[in-house]
Symmetry: C2
Subunit: 664 residues, 2 copies
């Protein structure tokens, strides 16, 4: 049956131009071609094979990752790949590795926080990978609370050096990726002390290992923190532990772009504004949102294809059974996730624009949009990563028992993805920051300070507190203005209600603490509105390709109406909509499911994922699931021998009733 | 610091008698003692060590499990343990193994479906483990739809044998635990064919492997299906694949309690009612609900203890930071899960009673309660396993970054637990069955047929459709009658509304299909009511011990009010409560969190879990988390050498710019 496309009948049903949708998904024709080329490059190279990962021991797994990283770098050099291409290539290699931190955190930290001089010294080394760096912030005792870090950097004016030291067990650096075994250098965050005085937490470039023999330098204890979730997943990464025993580094290895320590040990603020650093945060979080849409779309692609292959029940008179994708419960679980993948893609695209905008403003010394941009990226990071983690697991469940096999690709996708809910800011801690910003925004309404950016709708608070939803029949829910108004009204009303509750507390901080769970809900309402509104904005653009825009419109409506259903309590308790309107929304949602159904396979084809990248027997392009599942099974090492190792020692004595005398 | 109890101050805060709570949790004083003794026995035996699991290869892991299984059996024999004790011992060994299926499915299948003669022949062999059996139902192509199984059992009157055969690839047995490498026998489900006619799916005892050399018998292909979710988890189990090539078994190996095939190949119904078999299903699902409360309580115990140890933010003037358990967002995520653990425990206890009741009735040929009992256990299986799977992952996230380490115990707990949402009935498929039953019940209201058991409240449908919630102040929500009425009203109103929507479809089956997502919500509303009502019933009993009942009352209210908040859309859209009452419920919930807070640690101590069973550095009894985390890290094989394997081949050439010439 090789070469047969078992999903051809599904592909033929599509009512839109898949190739054009691929361009929309990729962001541009150019981006599509780069991505497509890199995906094929990786898929066709046997070194990048990944189907054997679940069977490797930690050491083998890790060694294999080193090999892939070196090979990827070799190909990047040989083919003279651009930065964009190199990034995509690493993306398709699809394995957490020390290089992620080197390129994603170490280099940006030096760029963002280093002086020009420091950048000139360190960046060329990093760009050529003559040094490999990581980002050592979190400690055993402190992650979320960065100001609580305990590692110290004490200036010694005698030698013009900083002494980096780990004074307690909990001050041990803990978690940095690439630290455990590979990095030669790290940006280490530590409390700056000069002249007996503390000056907050700053970054320092510290060499960790000899460039000759890779041994840790004197005073440095470093190692791997051990196994993490999953069998492959982040176990390809050497997240590390690091302790300093009075390690000395030259003064000029403190990253001094915003604050300098002089030869005399004086702290001097530079004329570069502190806020510049927030630009980096916006950048990193924007990439996390983009990654969310990648991970989510990958899971959705697998679950959608398998749901079209899998048949269960519903056979009349011994005929063919129903494809499980035709069950409304399956659709109700799956299609909103498909819609979310597209929604997150577009909001991620918009965040890229936001980052450019913020950067340009910062360069012009305009900090006015920064707090809003910061809150918005924090909130979207939280929203999209939480939703994606849950969605991957739901996709796994949508595949029934077979989703539990490693060969489905979904267990490892989950295991490798979930830490995104924790790193770069715990999702709940981030939502609390958003809530704080929202409460401030509400408190300033009417003060003449106009809310900007994604909070601009709050300027219409008075109207939104009064308005009544105009839906009278199910199709009314398809009107963007009606949808938007419902989401805006919900967000404003919840925010204003929370602000009122807060105002009853004599101590605002106590009030914030007491009501924090409710405040998180306000933040979520606001962030969901952002995603819905950016999707709607996208649809206001010109989108070429037969049927492409129509499909996106359906997906946008599914995304919004599903959220409305899930958070119905919000909409009803604030009087934004009536129970009857809610019921009409539900009717409309069901009808949208039927509309999207024939396009489902083509909509996941539009992600343009190779079978290599998907890494899933259930999600393979040709839908030839069962022979592949069967074949995979036999590769397990347990099948190397018919009678398993241990049988004669442990099971046979049991069967032969000889256990009593057996020495186990 | 060894021997210091870092949580002593928390334990001192408890306002109730922990020892008495332990009895309540265990179910009885006797059950507590058995459980306590077995837990210690396992914890103190080095063979049962499990902290090294994440580092073993699949083969080593599997071999280790065989050793533990044999050792457990040896101890059971040596100590002449009772069935209850043996069960508990296996529970605390805490590793999926072939013995689970032998005792949990193979033996019960023979007991439930075998004739007296068959039981006399096979059970003694199984009891002594002279044979080891598994339960081979699911195939590559069919799991949920048992009637769609393709394996055939064709009667050959010439030889008085059945010919067991796998006619297609998708008919390969796939998933049975214990099948892959260990079982000597299986109960195989196959379509019975005699005289060219099909007679549905039946169970057959089939020998798979030689009792001499353990080799598969002629015509049998059998192996392991490969790696599954997680690194340890279910990878200790040899879930298997099995194909038959015209394998012959004697006629008397068909399980013939309800239907017999005669020497001539005639099918004859016995006088044993078919329904008897449903009793087994009630039994198995009752154990699954009990397991849910175990898994959930375990995760909650880890997250609660760690939340009391972990401090982050909130230090005034360099003082000690706030315990994260004191943040209301943390409480709002954690305490409802603590409450759920107790709620599921009590509903599980009640299900045990239900099983006894059903069994007695069946023996007296009273089948009247069976459909209700069947729906109720299906629903509770679905509800508790879905909630538990989500809760374990939430507990992991509650531990921040450290929850992602294997040494936290939570990743593997999740990986090993989640298939409970799929096996013994996919949770969505089960809820659809419940919905079907509820729709039938509603349609019979007023017909004179009184709804019974957990649907008895529907007899008050008329009142419940009219009633208005009497809550006027927050404390009113503490009244059991008010809570119960709100949940009953919600369930009835949703069911009746769905029934009305259904009635508008000319074809009821089409209506059911179209509305199935909404129907699932009706089923959930009904099942949540069951859990709430059984918790309330429990509190009507006499519960001794200082403060014990008070704590349970708080937990019951937290459980119910949190559900109310999560499903607010249901309660508001059906007019069961007003937005103001919802807001009062929320106020009450916050106050309950404050009340439970000082008792949180003692409430998880009451589960009486040993550190061995918990298997978590973050959850250890003494709260001495950081030194243990640090120590664990160094045990990873990657730390065997300072410079990792692969460095010289792959990383050094990169650093030295010699990659271009390197042969990778
Ligand atoms: C795979 C992975 C890779 C990582 N890579 C790196 C790296 O390269 N470099 C690096 O420096 N770090 C890294 N980290 C660490 C990561 O940044 C931290 O784990 C993260 O910031 C969360 O902090 P925490 O672990 O201290 O969580 P905690 O803050 O301890 O969270 C525990 C719980 O407390 C709650 N909580 C905390 N504070 C509050 C509050 N104020 N209000 C309410 N609730 C609160 C949280 O919501 C959570 O439920 C990595 C982590 C992981 C898992
Ligand atoms: C760890 C593990 C251990 C197991 N052990 C055993 C064992 O020992 N013996 C054994 O025989 N089996 C075993 N199984 C198999 C298990 O019983 C099946 O996987 C389970 O019954 C689910 O069936 P499925 O895989 O066919 O799911 P499917 O039915 O294929 O489910 C796929 C999707 O379709 C949906 N769906 C299916 N039917 C409908 C419908 N009518 N309406 C709406 N939606 C529908 C489901 O909700 C799901 O989302 C095991 C499985 C696992 C994961």
């Amino acid at each position: 049956m090789d070469g047969v496309d078992h999903l051809a009948h599904e592909r033929n049903k599509a009512q839109f131009d898949v190739d054009e949708m691929k361009i929309v998904w990729a962001g541009s024709r150019h981006a599509f071609h780069v991505s497509d080329r890199m995906a094929r490059l990786v898929a066709s190279d046997p070194v990048f094979r990944k189907d054997n990962r679940a069977m490797l021991s930690r050491k083998e797994l890790f060694k294999n990752t080193l090999k892939k990283a070196a090979h990827a770098w070799k190909r990047i050099i040989e083919l003279r790949l651009s930065e964009e291409e190199a990034g995509k290539l690493r993306f398709y290699v699809d394995e957490p590795a020390f290089t992620d931190l080197h390129w994603g955190m170490f280099v940006p930290a030096i760029k963002g926080q280093g002086t020009d001089e420091q950048q000139q010294k360190w960046l060329p080394l990093a760009y050529k990978m003559q040094i490999i760096g990581c980002y050592a912030q979190t400690e055993l005792g402190h992650g979320s609370n960065v100001q609580g870090l305990e590692t110290t950097a004490t200036f010694d004016p005698e030698t013009d050096e900083f002494i980096i030291h780990s004074p307690t067990l909990t001050s041990s650096k803990w978690w940095p990726g690439g630290l455990g075994k590979i990095s030669t250098h790290a940006v280490v965050y530590a409390r700056l002390i000069t002249d007996g005085q503390e000056h907050g937490v700053h970054g320092f470039i510290v060499q960790l290992r000899s460039l000759d023999d890779h041994m840790p330098l004197p005073g440095i204890t470093v190692g791997d923190i051990g196994m993490k979730f999953g069998s492959g997943a982040y176990n390809t990464m050497d997240n590390g532990v690091l302790r300093f025993d009075h390690v000395r580094i030259p003064r000029n290895q403190m990253l001094m772009r915003v604050m300098q320590v002089t030869r005399e040990g004086k702290c001097v603020q530079s004329n570069v504004p502190r806020q510049l650093i927030y630009g980096t945060m916006v950048f990193v979080r924007q990439t996390i949102v983009a990654d969310a849409s990648s991970a989510l779309s990958r899971a959705v692609c697998i679950a959608t294809r398998y749901s079209a292959v899998r048949r269960q029940f519903g056979s009349q008179d011994g005929g063919i059974e129903t494809q499980v994708i035709d069950y409304k419960t399956q659709q109700n679980r799956l299609f909103p996730l498909l819609a979310s993948a597209y929604a997150f893609r577009f909001v991620g695209e918009w965040l890229k624009w936001l980052y450019t905008d913020v950067t340009q403003r910062l360069q012009a010394n305009d900090f006015s949009t920064l707090p809003e941009a910061h809150a918005c990226t924090a909130g979207l990071k939280s929203l999209t990563t939480s939703a994606t983690a849950d969605a991957i697991e739901e996709c796994r469940k949508l595949c029934g028992g077979h989703g539990y096999l490693s060969s489905s690709g979904l267990p490892e996708l989950f295991a490798v993805y979930v830490p995104a809910c924790t790193y770069e800011g715990d999702n709940v801690v981030l939502l609390l920051q958003v809530a704080r910003f929202l409460m401030k925004t509400v408190s300033q309404l009417g003060s003449g300070k106009r809310p900007i950016g994604t909070t601009a709708y709050m300027a219409q608070a008075e109207d939104l507190l009064q308005c009544r939803c105009r839906v009278q029949k199910a199709e009314d829910w398809l009107k963007p203005s009606i949808l938007l108004e419902a989401f805006e009204a919900r967000a404003v009303r919840i925010c204003v209600a929370r602000a009122e509750s807060l105002s009853k507390f004599p101590n605002p901080e106590e009030g914030f603490a007491e009501l924090s769970a409710d405040l998180v809900e306000a933040a979520i309402a606001h962030c969901q509105l952002i995603v819905v509104s950016k999707f709607i904005e996208k649809l206001q653009q010109d989108i070429p390709g037969k049927g492409v825009k129509q499909q996106l419109q359906i997906l946008c409506n599914i995304y919004a109406l599903n959220l409305l259903h899930k958070h119905l309590g919000d909409f009803l308790s604030t009087g934004c909509i009536t129970p009857e309107q809610a019921s009409l929304a539900n009717d409309q949602l069901r009808s949208l499911y039927s509309q999207i159904r024939p396009n489902a396979i083509a909509l996941v084809d539009a992600f343009n994922y190779t079978d290599h990248y998907l890494g899933s027997v259930l999600g393979c392009y040709d839908g030839n699931v069962y022979p592949k599942l069967y074949e995979e099974a036999w590769k397990d090492p347990l099948n190397d021998s018919v009678v398993p190792d241990g049988f004669h020692e442990y099971v046979r004595p049991m069967l032969k009733q000889q256990l009593r005398n057996a020495r186990l």
